[in-house]
Assembly symmetry: C2
Homo-oligomer: 387 residues x 2
């Protein structure tokens, strides 16, 4: 490699580092790593393994071979981290492994190739580079496997030794980015589960179920997506909608758990759960909690102005409240159905449709029906365990 070629590759690496640092989505991140590794090494195939417990898991693969790759070439998704597997050896020794077709016999002697993932069919393999993904604290997060380097004429050649420091840098950059993406995913999941469990605890007073909260949250997200809202809005409504009824915490047991019909005074007190919910989130600087406040306050408003607590009309009702109203009522109607076997799903849809422009925003109800297939999938998946 000439010095100017080396400068080019280093510049490419810097660009790559900036690019992947901005990617939060693991799949997209791994795809970018595989593509850049192929561009830098002219390899026909690139495979991404992540360390999971005691194994390496094949999580992404990118193939630019023009010929057919047998289905069993990477059949096993999990391989043990053991010294007689190439990728295992690479992890255990924190070391790049660079091998070519000429090394085959030596490999067969050294490694347990009978079981070696990706090497089952030796005819396909000309050269291979295994690069451990080591983060800034020297922890190994995975392995990048590159197969079949080529020259300008497209002939298969061994991986050049001069590319190894470049690949080491790329691997470190990737390891840190992968770790950040995993961390960000974990924080987000923890956040959602916390909202979920605390909301459930609040709702338990009202005998609601975990599945109800989860379904309303998922339905709301689907409606938002089909209504054309941004990914960020969809996430926000997913996170804020589980908290729509936390204001019920402020309702006395005597009203919340009353079996008979509520008196008009009791009904007014019961309806104040919307305003109590608002107060719980009032004054927050964070968008999700501001939205949670709006959802809590407005999810019982109706499009024609006949709802509570304020009798707001049409688009004056916060859009997130209009969305959660549909999700919440749909779920309530389906739950009634579970106890009355004769109440068919069609009837539920008829009920919803009859309320277009009355209880519900017509455009959002339309989005609900556009997303119906996904909504029914969620319903099916998260209803079973309640029976």
């Amino acid at each position: 490699m000439t010095v100017s070629a080396s400068v080019d590759k280093l510049l490419q690496l810097i660009e790559f580092g900036i690019h992947i640092s901005g990617i939060k989505e693991l799949k997209q991140l791994m795809e970018k790593v595989l593509k850049t590794a192929q561009d830098l090494t002219y390899a026909k195939m690139a495979v991404f393994y992540l360390v999971t417990d005691d194994s390496l898991e094949l999580v992404a693969r990118r193939n630019t071979h023009t010929f057919h790759i047998p289905d069993n070439f990477h059949e096993k998704k999990l391989i043990p981290i053991s010294p007689n597997r190439l990728a295992g050896f690479c992890v255990l020794n924190s070391k790049i492994v660079n091998i070519s077709a000429a090394d085959r016999q030596g490999l067969v002697d050294t490694y347990d190739l009978e079981h070696e993932l990706g090497l089952l069919n030796l005819q396909l393999f000309h050269s291979m580079l295994l690069v451990p993904l080591i983060n800034q604290n020297r922890k190994i997060l995975g392995v990048l496997q590159l197969i079949d380097s080529t020259n300008n004429e497209g002939d298969f050649i061994p991986f050049s030794e001069s590319i190894i420091p470049v690949m080491e840098s790329l691997a470190s950059q990737s390891a840190v980015a992968i770790q950040n993406a995993q961390l960000s995913r974990d924080i987000t999941s923890t956040y959602y589960e916390t909202i979920f469990r605390l909301s459930l605890a609040a709702e338990c007073r009202d005998k609601e179920t975990a599945n109800h909260i989860f379904r309303v949250s998922s339905y709301s997200k689907i409606i938002a997506r089909y209504a054309g809202f941004t990914k960020s809005f969809q996430d926000m409504i997913q996170y804020s909608s589980p908290m729509h009824d936390v204001g019920k915490l402020g309702i006395p047991d005597s009203i919340l758990f009353k079996t008979g019909k509520l008196t008009p005074e009791e009904r007014i007190l019961m309806q104040s759960h919307t305003e109590i919910g608002w107060k719980i989130f009032e004054g927050s600087d964070y968008e999700i909690l501001q939205m949670a406040g709006r959802v809590a306050l407005s999810h019982h408003e109706k499009y024609d102005g006949s709802g509570y607590p304020k009798g707001l009309k049409g688009n004056i009702i916060p859009v997130e409240g209009r969305i959660v109203a549909i999700a919440d009522v749909f779920d309530a109607l389906c739950s009634i159905r579970r106890y009355k076997f004769s109440f068919p799903t069609d009837q539920v849809f008829m009920n919803l449709k009859s309320e277009t422009g009355h209880h519900f925003d017509p455009i959002l109800l339309n989005a609900f029906f556009m997303g119906l297939e996904e909504i029914l999938e969620v319903k099916k998946k998260y209803t079973v365990s309640e029976s």
Copy 2:
């Protein structure tokens, strides 16, 4: 700059990118950016500005000048983003500004130098490089200002044009890292506020105050730090301890709000809030919520085995429960004090000390007293508004 010097700088940039991607703490991150920028440009001073609303805020500065810098050299922390300020011009035009002492007169004519931060005393300034921090979506997050480049002999020289592409890369790397750190900080803050508001809503049933929850959470973190636990453990107890009483959600109003003495049966039911709290978090895969469950279950256990619900003894009680017990009781004792003016702080400390080995873990109580200064600061700051 020779080609090999350029390769060295590129390698340095790649290392830098890997290093800063792993830093989540803003202050530490900016310090590293300033140091690297100085190393690469041989500048005597480096300043970090972040865009906040309509201004640039001076957030970090690093000076290796051996002579004294006047206090008013960077007196103003906020400068407007306007075209007649150098840093403002740099932001508005998304462009590097490279100026030397020779350009002074031109600068005086072009810019409103009377108000220019950092240029008040023109005698001090020999050369300056302003680099906009542009992220992967072309958004400007701030400006990096470098002052007074030097050669090997230590003479002041203009900034070399050849360093500009290197600084552009460094600025992009820094912008993405800064953005990730800000995002991570925002998610964490949102998470804490959500836990806080939902726990408060739950506690409100028990007439507890927002400040009580906040204080217990802060005290617990301080105790954990002085007891030598990791930063990660400290964060976890900060986040999980606000939820220690959410199990009270499951206690009927008639018991929770009873003004007289509880009957033995009612007392047992009341004590079950620990087990209800455990159930709320049971089975979670997330460490914070697992800890929240342990705290809820065990914060009324006593070191000598006389607590509830299980009468656990000594180190069998989860350590986080032992920590929150001290924080919770200390706060309760201080709250009683607010109503009985004659109850002095010394008496509170005596009470706590008399319980060492009985109610409290001696080692953790010792950590409490080691952190007393910080604990009293929190107490002072978050008690006022309750009076």
